[in-house]
């Protein structure tokens, strides 16, 4: 039905344009028109430039009003998140200042100096001083952003092993995720896809003879204790995937044939995040929208009402069901985590004979 409506709208727009074209053409009859802009054209388009400038500002404001809560540039759930968010906000402020000024100058000049017959433009070909100014200012601003950015980047990417991070393997395959914990020794057993043995349910190719592997724990829902650094080791068994955890400002590709890594410290439990007023507002908003689409959602077999959860998304095109490759992440207190961990089977016990 929507499709039909859209189709009709597009059709109407097309007809409207066709009619406008005819009007334009008719308006030209008789005028000695060689298709070069006249003063009248310059005037019309000059005013349009100002209208367009207003449109650019309007769509900027509208985007901020309707989409500006930017859930993923505020309320981060990891230790490095707030630093990254302020870098983002500073960059955005710089961008919006430059954008507002330059778009104004561009369109205002296009309006102000619209051509008139008989007027001569100023022959003004060069000014080294001016050019030096607008070379140096970007240099200074960019130098600031680069330095700030690189410090942030190094903070995030340098893993401090002395913090005793919990080691977790993220294992990607078309089209799902698995997580493997190092177990009580916090050391992951060796693994390679060549050791995969589906008959024994050794789906990750963990080395069955490696003593470190025996207490490994493999799960399909990622649990993390709040406040403890986590060092993720990423693997993929088939194609490129990317482990994207937007709430934690974390992402790293999973590359077959190599192990990549990323580390962060979760700071907000799932339960706490659900109490966050911003998140609650977002959830209410989404649920209102979902109630409108009730029939459709029921048909798709999804839960009607949304409850906030952290997600791990695949963010590198990986095949047909790329859009459908997520894993739930639960951040909880250390006690809750320990209790959950106790219930999980170790690798040793999960193998079939």
């Amino acid at each position: 039905m929507t499709t039909l409506l859209i189709f009709i709208i597009v059709l109407f727009v097309a007809v409207a344009m066709w009619q406008m074209v005819k009007i334009f053409d008719l308006a030209q009859v008789g005028a000695s028109n060689n298709q070069v802009a006249t003063d009248k054209d310059n005037k019309f388009n000059g005013y349009m430039m100002i209208a367009f400038l207003i449109f650019i500002y309007a769509i900027t404001i509208a985007s901020f009003v309707y989409l500006g809560d930017l859930p993923l540039t505020s309320n981060s759930a990891s230790e490095h998140g707030p630093g990254l968010d302020s870098l983002m906000i500073i960059s955005m402020v710089v961008i919006f200042i430059v954008q507002t000024i330059t778009q104004f100058l561009l369109h205002y000049f296009a309006y102000k100096y619209k051509g008139e017959k008989g007027r001569k433009a100023l022959f003004y070909a060069d000014n080294n001083m001016l050019e030096a100014i607008w070379t140096v200012i970007p240099v200074i601003v960019l130098a600031g952003l680069i330095i700030y950015g690189l410090f942030t980047w190094n903070d995030i990417m340098n893993v401090d092993e002395s913090d005793d991070p919990m080691v977790v393997e993220l294992y990607a395959q078309q089209f799902n995720w698995k997580a493997r914990y190092g177990g009580s020794d916090n050391v992951l057993g060796k693994a390679n896809v060549r050791l995969i043995d589906l008959d024994k349910a050794n789906i990750l190719g963990v080395d069955e003879d490696d003593p470190n592997a025996q207490d490994d724990v493999i799960v399909t829902e990622l649990h993390l204790p709040k406040g403890r650094p986590v060092l993720f080791k990423m693997r993929s068994q088939d194609v490129l995937h990317s482990a994207y955890m937007p709430h934690f400002r974390a992402q790293m590709n999973c590359v077959p044939g190599m192990v990549t890594q990323f580390a962060f410290t979760p700071t907000v439990t799932t339960a706490e995040m659900r109490q966050n007023p911003d998140i609650q507002e977002k959830v209410e908003n989404i649920n209102a929208l979902r109630l409108e689409r009730k029939a459709e959602i029921d048909e798709a077999g999804q839960d009607l009402l949304y409850q906030f959860d952290y997600l791990l998304l695949c963010n590198k095109i990986c095949g047909k069901s790329h859009y459908n490759m997520q894993m739930k992440i639960v951040v909880e207190t250390q006690e809750e985590f320990d209790a959950w961990m106790k219930e999980q089977k170790t690798f040793e016990n999960s193998l079939l004979d």
Binding site: V21, T102, K120, F123, Y124, L145, I146, L240, Q251
Partner: protein, 598 residues
């Protein structure tokens, strides 16, 4: 270095009077003007229509996922059973849309049309250095177009691994339907395309270096030619690397080598590949892929420089700085590719280096933007359609370029990498900007190509609808990306996290559809004007460059008599001491007139 065009000496024009048949004139033509038109029709118009139609289908699927759509049913056939688009074909559309727009429309279409048309005409040469290579280049391009389109008709569908075709997804037919025959055709098509592009680029470089007319020193070249020249050099430097990547990928796919593959377990079996790395492919791909952005953008910027100066009736501000920034951008473009790979698993220190070089590129870009704006200042702006598109280009170039500051920053890239933020960024800064460059070029040089004028009112209508819709599509898209929505998702309604972006997606799609319809205005104007447009004067825009000294009627060798000599730079607009507000390059200096030391 000789600045005289000796290859076709001044008196040899009678050799051009050999008989022309239909085939040598319109099909296997070696004349640069005809080849330019062939590129225009094939590369820009036909491939452009296909590419844009794909983008509209993608947009409709994103906004109204998994709903029956008569358009899908009609165009996609078996891939849209009952009008519901299949997930595989969605990825194929994304892939081929990207490939067609980036390579076929904005590389071959843009450079092929305007470099071919303008290089000989603006430097004062009778033709390209090698007309034969030029012809071969076009026909190789034509073959690659045909193969790319044919890939839609193979059993398992066309390539669907994204236009970046990262292995292993692109290497393993069992990973994805499109990685079978479809990917083979993609690779073959691209290999031929690269050969075509190299022949074209070499020709441009050689022509600019050797065939300039007397007096046309490098510092008197129009900025269009500088841009085309430098673009061709970047192409020659970087395209071969993509060819090698494609060849190695073909080896991995067909001959069992392991350049890019290692330790793979798929569909219940371990593959034999050992020791390769997909990251190597990413390096090779982006070593072309990033310069490619500038291969697309620089010619568009060159075209606008020329059009903005002409229509402002003012010299381009800071000619030397403009040339320097083209060169700086060209150089830097070859050392920034790693910013596409911050989170690919490469060493984080490399990420720091690439952040540094990437943000450096903002400096020459900023200089260009400010120089454009200053050129408008105190001008006498003739707001022709070409001028509107040029101003539009500066606008989208700024908007799109600024968000590059976020993406080029490795730390910020972690969270917006591969989201709609990236999609919005590159569509504005290279997609829309370069398309505006193409449109500006077509409106401006249409009289040169077809001897007739395009209708300006239709041009205005086309521009304003397109300009509004372009921002309507891509401005909100940044915000969707900031919400973390990954790109290349067949549907976003599969889980509720992004449900609150649904309405915005609908609005974006409606803007996109209107923009699509607006292109029909252009198409109508273009086709009708070729046959019924008003006959043009020799120099309708009162421009200084040499192409307007050639007669309206096309002829082999471009000028009936001797090639004009050049006495001044191309931007003597509104120069004090002259009655007219333009002084063509072939007008000798008056007594006591000083050439600007730019």
């Amino acid at each position: 270095m000789s600045v005289t065009a000796e290859t076709h000496g001044h008196d040899d024009h009678d050799v051009h009077h050999h008989k022309e048949t239909f085939v040598t004139k319109y099909i296997f033509s070696q004349d640069h003007k005809m080849i330019a038109k062939q590129y225009l029709i094939t590369g820009v118009i036909i491939m452009g229509i296909i590419g844009i139609m794909m983008s509209l289908m993608i947009r409709m699927q994103i906004a109204w996922p998994e709903q029956p759509n008569v358009i899908f049913e009609a165009l996609l056939g078996k891939w849209a059973p009952g009008g519901v688009m299949d997930a595989d074909i969605y990825l194929a559309l994304v892939t081929i849309h990207g490939t067609i727009m980036v390579f076929f429309v904005l590389t071959a279409g843009l450079s092929g049309t305007f470099s071919n048309l303008l290089i000989p005409l603006q430097i004062g040469a009778r033709d390209m250095a090698s007309g034969f290579l030029n012809m071969i280049s076009y026909w190789l391009f034509f073959v690659s177009c045909v193969i790319m389109i044919l890939s839609f008709f193979v059993e398992a569908g066309p390539a669907a691994a994204g236009w970046t075709i990262y292995p292993p997804l692109s290497a393993l037919p069992m990973a994805q339907g499109g990685s079978g025959m479809g990917m083979t055709l993609w690779l073959v098509s691209m290999a031929i395309f690269i050969a075509s592009s190299l022949l074209g680029s070499l020709n441009y470089v050689v022509t600019v270096i050797n065939l300039r007319t007397k007096g046309m020193s490098m510092t008197r070249l129009p900025l269009t030619i500088w841009a085309f020249f430098v673009t061709a050099i970047i192409g020659v430097v970087s395209f071969p690397v993509l060819l090698s990547a494609a060849l190695l990928l073909i080896m991995d796919r067909s001959f069992g080598t392991s350049f890019f593959l290692s330790d793979i377990f798929i569909q219940g079996e371990v593959l034999h590949y050992q020791g390769g790395s997909p990251v190597l492919f990413e390096h090779l791909f982006w070593f072309l892929g990033h310069p490619e952005v500038y291969i697309v953008l620089l010619p568009a910027l060159g075209i606008t420089s020329e059009i903005i100066a002409t229509n402002s009736r003012k010299p381009i501000f800071g000619y030397r700085a403009m040339v320097a920034s083209i060169l700086a951008i060209a150089f830097l473009s070859t050392i920034v590719w790693g910013h596409h790979m911050f989170i690919s698993g490469m060493n984080p220190f490399l990420g720091s280096v690439f952040t540094f070089t990437t943000l450096l590129i903002a400096i020459p870009s900023a200089v260009k933007a400010f120089n454009y704006i200053t050129t408008l200042w105190k001008g006498n702006l003739q707001l022709n359609p070409a001028m509107l598109f040029s101003i539009g280009l500066v606008s989208t170039f700024i908007t799109g370029g600024l968000t590059g500051i976020i993406l080029g920053d490795s730390a910020l890239d972690i969270n917006v990498h591969d989201t709609y933020f990236v999609v919005a960024h590159f569509h504005l800064v290279m997609g829309i900007s370069a398309l505006y460059g193409v449109f500006a070029g077509i409106y401006h040089w249409f009289p040169k190509m077809f001897g007739r004028m395009m209708n300006k009112n239709l041009g205005y209508l086309h521009f304003w609808i397109t300009a509004i819709c372009a921002y309507g599509v891509f401005f909100p898209m940044h915000f969707i990306g900031m919400a973390g929505l990954p790109r290349r998702y067949y549907t976003n309604s599969n889980f509720p996290l992004f449900d609150d972006t649904t309405n915005a997606q609908g609005v974006i799609t409606i803007f996109a559809l209107i923009a699509g319809v607006a292109q029909l205005v252009f198409l109508y104007n273009f086709v009708v004007s070729i046959f019924y447009g008003k006959k043009t004067e020799q120099n309708p825009w009162k421009s200084n460059t040499l192409e307007w000294t050639a007669p309206v009627e096309h002829m082999h060798g471009n000028w009936p008599g001797a090639i004009p000599h050049v006495y001044r730079w191309p931007y003597d607009y509104s120069k004090p001491g002259h009655d007219e507000d333009f002084v063509p390059q072939n007008v000798p200096m008056k007594d006591g007139e000083e050439e600007l030391q730019h």
